[in-house]
């Protein structure tokens, strides 16, 4: 089990959302949880199974093999092409807050030794919104996976297109979807993982174009916002509307996978695809069926 509990490569998981201290309060069930227990549980509430949102770094650190990740285009960031009121300030604030230049990280790594191209969106950076740089990085990830014929795994967590870049943000839907189209043509597999939340323009482009689509439990997934829909149809929507479980029932995603099982599920899929593998299999991961790793 060591592999599951290894020290995060990118420093600590105890950031944001969590007030400082030994105890953390779950935003859903309001129970106090021993912080170390929460971290051991991959930031899933042991009481109510709430999957806390992760930054892109955190996501990669709990998903990829240790020391197996090489980031590409780390310095690539959006500018302010429209001179949009307040955008440079918001960008700067997001950079300060997250220590990242943009709302996505991408690179090459391994899961249980299986090589893959991976991208993770960061909801803490301007709501994971997709502007020019996010679109560019996702497109480059897809193009690189296509050229190398590696599997592509994208973790989405985004409110949608970044309004402050206007129609150029909208064009990122075309850019990323076209790049995924090339990937599909070339035959390299693409797994899309939708985390909380995955909405708007990100759903209407690369996130819903996965060969395999996985959702995290409880994740909000949908195109239009709940309030806009309620105003349009003049009815209240049920509580579970646009949740991962709702999407599974409606046939929109392949599976809902708890965080504790994500690595194992990805490893099983990557083994199925049979791509290149660079390290001998970790004994505790093969065979890739449940070995009693409790979900939160």
């Amino acid at each position: 089990m060591l592999n599951w509990l290894r020290r995060p490569k990118y420093g600590s998981l105890q950031r944001r959302e969590m007030p400082a201290g030994i105890w953390a309060k779950c935003p859903r069930c309001a129970n106090l949880i021993y912080r170390k227990e929460l971290e051991r549980n991959l930031r899933v509430c042991p009481k109510c199974n709430y999957h806390h949102r992760l930054s892109a770094e955190e996501r990669l650190s709990i998903t990829l093999d240790e020391d197996g990740f090489t980031e590409f285009d780390a310095g690539l960031t959006s500018t302010d092409p429209l001179r949009f009121t307040g955008y440079p300030e918001k960008l700067e604030e997001a950079k300060q807050k997250t220590g990242q230049p943009e709302a996505v990280l991408w690179g090459e790594g391994t899961v249980d030794g299986w090589r893959l191209v991976v991208a993770a969106l960061d909801f803490y950076f301007m709501g994971g919104s997709m502007g020019s740089a996010v679109g560019e990085k996702v497109a480059r990830a897809a193009e690189y996976a296509h050229e190398q014929h590696f599997p592509l795994v994208v973790f989405s967590a985004s409110g949608g297109a970044r309004m402050q870049e206007g129609v150029l943000s909208l064009m990122q839907l075309a850019k990323t979807s076209a790049a995924v189209g090339r990937l599909h043509d070339g035959g390299a597999p693409y797994v899309s993982v939708m985390c909380d939340p995955t909405t708007g323009g990100v759903t209407a482009s690369f996130a819903f174009l996965g060969d395999i689509i996985i959702a995290e439990p409880g994740a909000l997934i949908g195109f239009a916002g709940r309030r806009v829909i309620e105003q349009t149809i003049r009815r209240k929507l049920p509580d579970d509307f646009q949740t991962a479980e709702f999407c599974l029932q409606k046939g929109l995603v392949d599976m809902v996978v708890p965080r504790a099982e994500m690595r194992r599920t990805l490893a099983t899929l990557l083994a199925f695809f049979g791509g290149p593998r660079i390290v001998p299999p970790a004994p505790e991961l093969a065979p890739a069926v449940s070995q009693g790793a409790e979900t939160g």
Partner: protein, 323 residues
């Protein structure tokens, strides 16, 4: 110079006064023709001042004008032998999306487009030109027919956006849009897009991944409506005029940003003032661009289309940071 919002207010006041006079003259059998005529001259002067130098918000209103030519008008005047096709073969026929086989100047083409209504009744039936997933899937089905028969696709865009409803979400609105964008990006026939009115976000882009994107002078194309943008940014939808300016959504803006390839001039005061002039300018533009695109072999066409969308966006490389 009088500011745009003041002109708008003056015009609204004059129009209200005209209405009041008309009612008065009808209800009380008074003859107010002289007064009404004076006011109408005044209204026309104000409109002239406004449309001589329309703000982005005025242009949004022109793009949404209820009398603006609709898809059916373009189809009637630009094409012959149109055979409308219905349904996505999966769920139902979505009247917000039009699809047809037709001839343009004798040549076979496929026409798709958002189908806004001309009056309230039609608009309700067609959900104001906001398609459901089945609308996008119908459009895709017919675009694939175009590919099969090696005929160009002509797409007419005029929508506030994809329909925001629970049934649309359940049937995969996002997936339908994403699929269309992906498939259009690699369609092996020429794809010409004309944005005639509102280009509302993903709901517009789902039929707008073209080799050439043409825009009418007073059409708009935007990632979010000005009202929605103002509501999110400033929690105040009434600041839509400000948002309209900030979003850079006019045809000229889009040409500057590299999104629109050609801007087609409209008559003074908007397309509805002289629809025939608009049809003529659209016909000329379609002929010219189609003629050019027909010369390009399919693989080259697909490569160029990929490159066209691939380069959109503005980036910055920060030197210091490394992986």
């Amino acid at each position: 110079m009088t500011k745009a919002p003041d002109l708008d207010r003056q015009l609204a006041e004059v129009e209200a006064e005209i209405d009041r006079m008309r009612r008065l003259s009808r209800d009380q059998s008074l003859s107010l023709d002289g007064e009404i005529s004076t006011l109408e001259t005044r209204a026309e002067e104000l409109r002239h001042t406004i449309y001589s130098n329309p703000t982005p918000w005025h242009i949004v209103q022109l793009a949404r004008h209820p009398q603006r030519p609709r898809l059916t008008d373009y189809v009637a005047s630009l094409f012959t032998d149109a055979i409308e096709l219905h349904g996505d073969r999966l769920f139902r026929d979505d009247p917000a999306m039009f699809a047809a086989l037709a001839r343009f100047e004798g040549q076979p083409v496929v026409v798709i487009g958002h189908n806004k209504g001309k009056d309230t009744k039609e608009n309700i039936a067609r959900t104001f030109g906001m398609p459901y997933p089945e609308g996008y899937r119908k459009a895709l089905r017919v675009m694939k027919l175009a590919e099969k028969f090696s005929v160009p696709v002509l797409a007419f865009v005029d929508t506030p956006g994809a329909f925001p409803g629970d049934a649309a979400e359940e049937r995969g609105q996002a997936e339908a849009i994403a699929r269309n964008i992906e498939e259009m990006s690699r369609l092996r026939v020429p794809v010409l897009v004309v944005i005639t009115g509102e280009g509302g976000s993903g709901g517009a882009l789902a039929i707008a991944v073209g080799d050439r994107v043409l825009m009418l002078q007073y059409a708009v194309y935007t990632v979010i409506s000005p009202e929605g943008c103002a509501a999110i940014l400033w929690h105040d939808a009434t600041r839509a005029a400000e948002a309209a300016a900030a979003l850079r959504l006019t045809a000229n803006d889009l040409r500057d940003l590299g999104v629109a390839d050609d801007v087609l001039p409209e008559p003074f005061g908007g397309a509805h003032r002289d629809p025939d002039a608009v049809f003529t300018s659209v016909r000329d533009a379609l002929r010219r661009h189609l003629g050019e695109l027909r010369q390009v072999p399919a693989p080259e066409l697909v490569n160029r289309r990929y490159a066209k969308f691939r380069r959109l966006g503005v980036l910055q490389e920060m030197g210091a940071a490394t992986g």
